[in-house]
Amino acid sequence: MPSSLTIADVERIAALAHLELTADEKALFTRQLADILAYAEQVQAVDTSGVPATAHVLGEPTEREDEPRASLPRDEALANAPDAAVEAGLFRVPRVIG
């Protein structure tokens, strides 16, 4: 439970979130997240038996026809990439397969 949140818990969550935290950040977040979660635990005292969850508040249908539409031109889609292979039309990333 949060009151016993450990550095190992924080490391596990950071791995799930793709965050490489420094040692200082791990120590700080362990304490701060424990505080916040201890406070948030009060929701568990509310009787919610039979109460549906609200994921969003809109009562209207949000579907549309699945029709092809124009998308961004390739060069514009690549324009903000930190490492674009523009000629090839690709995003370049570090080597994945040895």
Binding site: D9, V10, I13, A14, L16, A17, H18, L19, E20, L21, T22, E25, L28, F29, Q32, L33, D35, I36, L37, Y39, A40, E41, Q42, V43, Q44, V46, T48, V51, P52, A53, T54, A55, H56, V57, L58, E60, T62, E63, R64, L72, E76, A77, A79, N80, A81, P82, D83, F91, V93, P94, R95, V96
Partner: protein, 486 residues
């Protein structure tokens, strides 16, 4: 001229009393004078603004019809995409991002002939209540520059308060339009969820985020909302509800209206200067003819934990897209160690502390073993909060509370304790959780002459009634006309 509101500027331009270029030049001169001490803008788009203003003047010279915001200078929070204009969300991870498309609200205000003058500073990814989470440093409050302007739309609120622009756009997820409006002594409105398209708004929490106006009067908020609102095929959650002319609601007559006050909820933890201003505001509203009624919102005391569980869960998902591949910052370290270390290092270097804290919290509450106890539970309590409002709106047409329980605090005062910062959002997080429209209007000052805001919350899609009450309140008070010393 810069003391005038959006409507007055538009009318003066239409009547030929001043040109749009003259208005634009006055704005740019004002920005030169005050922005160095406020840090309200991340970017000032002077050339583009002057070209747009000249186009408005040509339109008038050719006797073409002018849009409802013709020549009105508008500042945009820096999480709204403008094609070709750097848009950062005040984050290092988007430091050099130049959007390839316009947000729908940008298309709408430019179609209405508004002149965009720049991008305003904000908390990183709109996460914060003090503007201290910006990668570009905090904005300062025009009323007291050692203090926060509020957040996250602090630059937009400060810019309107300091008479840089008559109108700015912000985004509100848990109070990010209303609380800075209150702290800066201006009007800020969060429309009903779905009223305004979110397309081109850099996402924080998608079930809560809404774009809205910051202005100096309710009348200008009504004018802006009429332009902004409407269904958009690019945002599946934008509503098909008909959009009225919101200005038509401003009749000044609130005699038939019942204003609900959740007495128990507002009796605790409200600073004395805020409490006195709020009590006087209720007297003024009653004096203007409305009836005050007592209401209860039994689950509002859970709104902060519910909000921080739901919003961070959504944020952890939305911010997964920042991975150093398709856009934004990429770490230059460890590139030969493979893809995953690049993601993790990029995100650690690119995000600030509060954003990382919220991603961590959101990831935790969605993770196996904690989902039911935290995330699902929060969504169920969210349903109960919506039911509270449904019952309250059987007795009342509008719900009144202070916008913030405290006046603008000192920069640095709350940064060491995130939970204390979150607790100050007590009155603003409920409306977005329930999807409801809410507005903050200036309602006085504390003993230290710090602005206080009155918050009015309305029924779903009934922005008209809260605008009508806000406007009627402005007619019997002069708080909204007072200028900061800057």
């Amino acid at each position: 001229m810069l003391d005038s509101g959006a409507r007055a500027i538009r009318e003066a331009i239409a009547a030929g009393q001043v040109s749009a270029v003259e208005v634009c030049r006055a704005v740019l001169a004002r920005l030169d004078a005050v922005n160095p001490s406020l840090n309200a803008f991340n970017l000032i788009a002077a050339e583009r603004a002057l070209a747009r203003a000249a186009a408005v003047d040509r339109k008038r010279a050719a006797a073409e019809p002018l849009g409802p915001l013709a020549g009105v200078p508008v500042a945009l929070k820096d999480n709204l995409c403008v094609r070709g204009m750097r848009t950062t969300a005040s984050s290092r991870i988007l430091d050099r991002f130049v959007p390839p498309y316009d947000a729908t609200v940008v298309q709408r205000i430019e179609a209405a002939d508004a002149v965009i003058v720049g991008k305003t500073n904000c908390d990183e990814f709109a996460m914060g209540s003090s503007n201290e989470n910006s990668a570009y440093g905090p904005v300062r409050n025009p009323w007291a520059t050692a203090r926060t302007p509020g957040g996250s739309s602090g630059g937009s609120a400060a810019a309107v308060a300091a008479r840089c622009v008559p109108l700015a756009l912000g985004s509100d997820t848990g109070g990010s339009i209303r609380q800075p409006a209150a702290f800066c002594g201006v009007v800020g409105m969060k429309p009903t969820y779905g009223r305004v398209s979110r397309y081109g708004l850099i996402a924080f929490a998608s079930s809560l985020d809404q774009i809205g106006p910051i202005s100096r009067t309710a009348a200008d908020a009504a004018l802006a909302l009429t332009v902004l609102a409407g269904v958009d095929p690019a945002d599946a959650t934008s509503s098909r509800q008909a959009v009225p002319d919101f200005a038509a609601a401003l009749t000044g007559d609130i005699r038939s209206l019942r204003v609900g006050v959740p007495r128990a909820f507002v009796s605790e933890g409200v600073e004395e200067g805020v409490r006195r201003a709020f009590a006087a505001a209720l007297d003024a509203i009653e004096g203007a003819g409305a009836t005050l009624v007592d209401i209860e919102l039994p689950h509002a005391r859970y709104a902060i934990p519910v909000y921080y569980l739901v919003a961070t869960a959504e944020a952890s998902s939305n911010l997964a897209r920042y991975d150093g591949v398709r856009y934004g910052y990429r770490s230059s370290a460890d590139l030969d160690q493979g893809l995953r270390p690049m993601y993790c290092r990029t995100r650690d270097e690119g995000f600030g502390a509060e954003v990382k804290r919220r991603i961590m919290l959101g990831t935790y509450v969605l993770s196996a073993g904690y989902y039911d106890a935290f995330y699902l539970k929060a969504q169920q309590v969210r349903t109960l909060l919506r039911h509270d409002y449904q019952q309250a709106f059987e007795k009342a047409d509008v719900v009144a509370t202070p916008t913030s329980p405290i006046p603008p605090f000192l920069l640095g005062e709350k940064t060491a304790d995130p939970l204390q910062m979150y607790l100050a959002d007590v009155f603003t997080v409920s409306a977005p959780l329930a999807g409801l429209p809410a507005i903050s209007v200036p309602c006085g000052f504390t003993g230290e002459r710090l602005p206080v805001g009155l918050q009015l919350t309305g029924r779903m899609f009934d922005e008209s009634t809260i605008l009508r009450v806000a406007d009627a309140y402005e007619r019997v008070t002069d708080w909204h006309t007072q200028r900061p010393p800057l």
